[in-house]
Symmetry: C2
Subunit: 142 residues, 2 copies
């Protein structure tokens, strides 16, 4: 009977998991902002830099950041002033690629390392728990 329970009680329980997931997500978002700030970056700047593994068109970056293309112009300008990124010509002359400088690459590596090292997935889970988490993450967001 218990296993077949799909009534109000089970529904309430599912909602509780949804709320808890949202709560944990919110904490991780804050932790990311702290880590970004520790590297002198705002959250959107950090997201852009993490995405910049190879030279990428502004429009593609705007899709990844889920914001208007006009915003990428500004975010990139601030990073460019600090010598972290440079503009490069694309195949089509309408395109502008954004690429990391050496300094940008160093910062990206440091940021990536800090995110991993401070992640509760790293610090609070055992190896088998990480495997279980990975499986659930793949179901949550394939």
């Amino acid at each position: 009977m218990v296993a077949r329970n799909a009534g109000p009680a089970a529904k309430a329980d599912a909602a509780a998991v949804a709320r808890r997931l949202h709560e944990v997500t919110d904490r991780l978002r804050l932790a990311f902002e702290v880590t970004a700030a520790a590297h002198g970056l705002t959250a959107p700047q950090a997201r852009l830099i993490l995405r910049l593994i190879e030279p990428t068109a502004m429009r593609e970056l705007s899709e990844h950041l889920a914001c208007d293309k006009s915003n990428v112009t500004g975010i990139a300008a601030r990073l460019s002033e600090r010598g972290l990124v440079v503009h490069a010509p694309g195949a089509d002359r309408r395109f502008k690629l954004l690429a990391l400088t050496d300094e940008g690459r160093s910062l990206r590596a440091a940021l990536q390392l800090a995110i991993s090292e401070t992640s509760p997935a790293m610090t609070r889970l055992t190896a088998s728990e990480r495997i279980a988490l990975m499986a659930l993450l793949d179901k949550l967001a394939p």
Copy 2:
């Protein structure tokens, strides 16, 4: 041997889980912003309203939102203009409590429901997977 592996390979794997957790967190953050916007709220406004189960002092809200107290003044002012919250006197006359109006309570309930119903924890997991997720969330952020 495999179970005792704590060398570079296992480390890299743990980092991969950390990155993946961050990636999923980022998607859920975007989904939250979409849900908030669908209810006419910005993300910080939605977070404040979700927190406002009972009348709460501005300072306590600023701690929960992890922002300066001066920001709560502005966020609350915008919600107040729309009739979603009201100021109320606190025990100590220095304090101002913020409380939901009837309209604010309705909006909060609708928002909470939308978050639960659209959560991948609700839509993409089985009951037993939700139990496993809950256990991992408790380890990640006790």
